[in-house]
Symmetry: C2
Subunit: 459 residues, 2 copies
C-alpha cells in the first residue's frame, strides 16, 4: 500500500483509479450524515484536494465521526471517480487513523474569516485555501524568477544584508549592533568596529559582479525602516535586482518586458487551480488581467511625453487630484490613467527629471533628465524601477559631490568607472508588489509569510 501525496494522486490519477492508496494530511472540513461521513482532506502539496468518504462499515466508525476539524489523519482507501468534478478524486476510505488531535475551539473553522483575523493567527493561516493559493503562487513565482535568469546565463549573487554604507543616500535604515544600550556608544567596540545597518538595496554590490559576469541578478531580503502603515509597505521584503553589462536603457526595457511576460505566463501555466480560486476570491478578472499582460506589448514614453498626455487629458476634462507637472514626479492617479485609460497596456516611462532620481543614474545630454525607467502596469502601478547607470567617472563624481555623497566611502563603486567600465543597466522589482499583482490580494501583509510593519513583529 503506497503512501502518496495529493499532488502525486492528481498527477497519476488515471493510473491510480481503483487502486488503494494511503494519504497523510489534515481535515479541513468534516460533514456527517447518519451512515456516512465526508472529510475535506488536504496535505498542502496540491490545491485540488480529494474528498474522503467513509461509511458505517469502517472500523471505529463512531470514533472517526468524532474527529475534529484541524486534526492530522492518515487515510487508506480506494481511489474512485468523483461525482462532482472529474479532476478531483474521491477516496473511499477503508481505514482512517488519527495522527494528531485538534480541539473544538481550533481558530480555523470552516467559515469566512476576515483577513485581519487571519493575520493575528498568521501561523495557522497557511492552512486556509486562500493562503494555500497565495503562498504556492509565491513559491512558484520565486522559482520562475530563478529559472528565467539562470536559463539566460545570469549569475545569482547574494549581496550583503548588513552594510556599513548608506547606499542610496539618506535612508530610513535599521541599525544593527551588538553594543549594550548607551548614550555614547563606542562603535569601535561594536561587532564590526563601526556603525552598521540593514541594506536597502543590493544594486551597488550587484554592479561590481555585473562588471565580472556581464549578467547577474540578486534575489534577497531588503529592509526599510519607513514608518508607513499602507497596504503596500513592509519593513522587510524581498527584491530582485538584475544588472547587465553592455546594456543601455532601450535594451533594459526589452529585458524587463520579456521577463515580466515570461513570469506571468509561467504562473498562469503552473498555478491554474490557485489562480482560479484567487480570481473568484478577489471578485473576478484576475486571470483575464494576467492573460492580457502576458500577451501585451508595453508602451514606451518619455516622462515629458507622459506629462503632455496627462495635461491634455486634464484639459479635456479628466479630473486629477494632483496636477501633472513637467519636471516632477507622477502620482498614482496619473499612472492609473496612463496604463488603464490611455494605453490599455503596461507603460515604460523613461528619461526622468534628474532631481527626483538617484545619483547613480546616467545623465542625459539635455542636462535635465537621467536614463531612468519606471514600468507601470495596469492594476499594479509601478512594478519595476530601473536605469542605465552613469558609467562616466567625471559625471558620476560631479553628481556625488553635488549631493554630498562621499566618494571616499564609496571608492569601490566609483572605481568601477575607472577599471574597465562600460555601459550597463539594471532594475529592481519588489517581490511582494509582484505578488499583489499576481494574486489580486491587496495587502502586502497577506502575501508575506510573517510580515514586519511598524509596531508589528509577531511570530
Amino acid at each position: 500500500m503506497e503512501i502518496i501525496t495529493t499532488r502525486e494522486l492528481k498527477e497519476r490519477l488515471g493510473e491510480l483509479q481503483g487502486q488503494t492508496v494511503t494519504l497523510q494530511g489534515w481535515i479541513r472540513n468534516h460533514r456527517k450524515q447518519k451512515n456516512i461521513g465526508f472529510i475535506d482532506f488536504f496535505d498542502g502539496t496540491c490545491f485540488k484536494n480529494p474528498q474522503v468518504v467513509y461509511d458505517d462499515g469502517i472500523a471505529n466508525y463512531e470514533g472517526i465521526q468524532a474527529f475534529h476539524i484541524g486534526s492530522a489523519v492518515k487515510v487508506t482507501g480506494k481511489v474512485v471517480p468523483s461525482y462532482k468534478d472529474p479532476e478531483t478524486p474521491e477516496i473511499q476510505a477503508q481505514e482512517i487513523t488519527l495522527e494528531g488531535d485538534c480541539p473544538e475551539d481550533y481558530p480555523l473553522q470552516p467559515k469566512k474569516h476576515s483577513l485581519e483575523f487571519l493575520r493575528e493567527i498568521a501561523y495557522l493561516r497557511p492552512r486556509t485555501r486562500l493562503f494555500q493559493a497565495v503562498f504556492r503562487v509565491r513559491s512558484v513565482a520565486a522559482m520562475a524568477i530563478h529559472t528565467y535568469f539562470q536559463d539566460r546565463g545570469y549569475v545569482y549573487v547574494h549581496t550583503p544584508l548588513i552594510t556599513g554604507n548608506d547606499a542610496e543616500g539618506a535612508g530610513n535604515t535599521f541599525t544593527v549592533t551588538t553594543l549594550p544600550p548607551s548614550d555614547h556608544p563606542d562603535y569601535s567596540q561594536d561587532f564590526f568596529g563601526k556603525p552598521t545597518s540593514l541594506a536597502v538595496t543590493g544594486q551597488l554590490e550587484g554592479e561590481t559582479f555585473a562588471m565580472a559576469f556581464s549578467k547577474i541578478y540578486t534575489f534577497g531580503p531588503t529592509f526599510r525602516a519607513e514608518n508607513s502603515n499602507t497596504k503596500t509597505h513592509a519593513a522587510e521584503f524581498w527584491m530582485i535586482e538584475p544588472e547587465i553589462a553592455f546594456c543601455d536603457l532601450d535594451q533594459l526595457m526589452d529585458i524587463e518586458e520579456d521577463f515580466l511576460k515570461n513570469l506571468v505566463q509561467t504562473v498562469l501555466d503552473k498555478c491554474p487551480d490557485e489562480l482560479e480560486f484567487l480570481d473568484k476570491f478577489t471578485g473576478g478578472g484576475l486571470i483575464e488581467k494576467l492573460t492580457a499582460l502576458a500577451g501585451s506589448t508595453c508602451a514606451r514614453v518619455t516622462h515629458e511625453e507622459a506629462i503632455t498626455i496627462l495635461r491634455k487629458a486634464m484639459e479635456n476634462g479628466t479630473q486629477f487630484q494632483f496636477e501633472p507637472k513637467y519636471g516632477e514626479d507622477t502620482a498614482k492617479e496619473h499612472e492609473k490613467y496612463l496604463t488603464e485609460e490611455y494605453f490599455h497596456s503596461p507603460v515604460f516611462v523613461y528619461n526622468w527629471p534628474k532631481d527626483i532620481k538617484a545619483f547613480y543614474m546616467y545623465q542625459n545630454e539635455d542636462q535635465k533628465t537621467v536614463a531612468a525607467v519606471d514600468l507601470l502596469v495596469p492594476g499594479a502601478g509601478e512594478l519595476m524601477g530601473g536605469s542605465q547607470r552613469e558609467d562616466r567617472y567625471d559625471r558620476l563624481a560631479a553628481r556625488m559631490d553635488e549631493l554630498g555623497i562621499s566618494k571616499d566611502e564609496m571608492y569601490w563603486y566609483v572605481n568601477l568607472r575607472k577599471f574597465g567600465g562600460c555601459t550597463h543597466a539594471g532594475f529592481g522589482m519588489g517581490f511582494e508588489r509582484l505578488l499583489i499583482y499576481l494574486t489580486g490580494v491587496e495587502n502586502i501583509r497577506d502575501v508575506i509569510p510573517y510580515f514586519r510593519t511598524p509596531m508589528n513583529c509577531d511570530f
Copy 2:
C-alpha cells in the same frame, strides 16, 4: 553582425565556425609581439574564454596594442579553430574598440595574488579566474537546491529575518533598532514596539508552514553575532532548512542523502570547467572526492555506536587529542576518523545525548537521547544537522520548562502540537559550508561575495 556572449559562442561553436561575431567583455591578459597581439578575453558568461588574435593589418593597430589589462572592449572578428584546444575558440579580430579604459596600476595583474590581498579588493576579485569559478558554482548550486525541492513539490518559504523571538534559546544575536543611542532605551518606542534581533534560524516558522504544505524549504540569510575568527564562521551566511510533515528520523536521513548526492552530481554536470580549474587550484582530488560522494552510500550509526568505534580505535593506538566520551559531543578529529578512516563514506550519526541538543528535538524512549542526526562528510565534517521534532505537547512543554524557555512567548510554536500535530522532521545546511566542500576553497571568506566577520563589514 551578431553580438553574442562567450557562453553562446561555446554552445553554438560548430555553427559559428568561420562566421563573424561581436563580443563584449574585458581584457584579462594582453601579450604583444612585433606584428601580432593576443588578448585573453572574458565576459564572465562562460568559464572557457576565447583568445582574441589581431595582427598589424587591423585598423588602429598601435592603439590596440596599447590597451591595458582590465579594459572593457568590443571585439568583432571571425571564429576560427584554436590550435591549442578545440573547445576554446579563437577570434581573428577585424575590429577592436575600447569601451572603458583601465589604468596601468589596476590592482588585478596577470600574476598570482594572495587570497588575503584579493579579499581586500573583494569588489574586483570576481573578475579573476578563481572567483569566476567559485561564484558560478555558488549560483549553480543555489539553483540546484531550488530545482531539487521544487521538482519534489516542496514550497519555498521566506521566513522572517527580523524577529522578536530568541528562537534557539540564548543566542549571539544582532540587535535591530531604530532608536537613538540611549542608556535606557524605551523599546515601546522602537520601530516594532519591542526589542528585536536578526534571526538565527527560520526553522520554527518553517514548521508552521510544513503543518500546512507538508513539504517546505527555506533558503535565506541567517545571522550569528559570534565572535569567532575561524575559517568556517561568518556573521552573515545563507541557510537551507527543509521541513517535512509525516516524516521520521529514518526518512529524514533518506531525504538528506538523496538531496546531497543529487546536488553534488548537478554541480559536477553543470560546472565541469569550473571544477577542473578548482581541482588544480586546490591541489587535486576535488573532482574525485565529489564523484565518490555522488556514488556513495552513507553509513548510519548511533552516537553511542560512534563513540564505541572511536574508543576502540583509541585502544588500538589511534591518537586523539580529545577522548571520545559517551554522552558528549564529538570533536573534528573524531568526525574525520569516522568518515575518512573507518567508513570511507559520509556518515549519519543519530540519537544524540539530549543535553547537548536543542529543546525541540524528539525525545527518545531511553530518556537520554533525542532523535537528532548530524551528517558527517569526508573532507567537510558536519554538513547538515537535523532532527525529528518533538510533536508531543507534554514532552515539549516539559523540556521547555526544564530549559527555562517561555511557552507563552512561543505559544504559536507550542500550539502546532495541539492543532493537528504530526510526526515531522527537518534539517539545516549552511550554504557556505556546502560551497567550501564543493569548491575545495578553504575559507568561508572566499565563497561569499562580501563576507561579514568580526571587525569586517567592507563594501
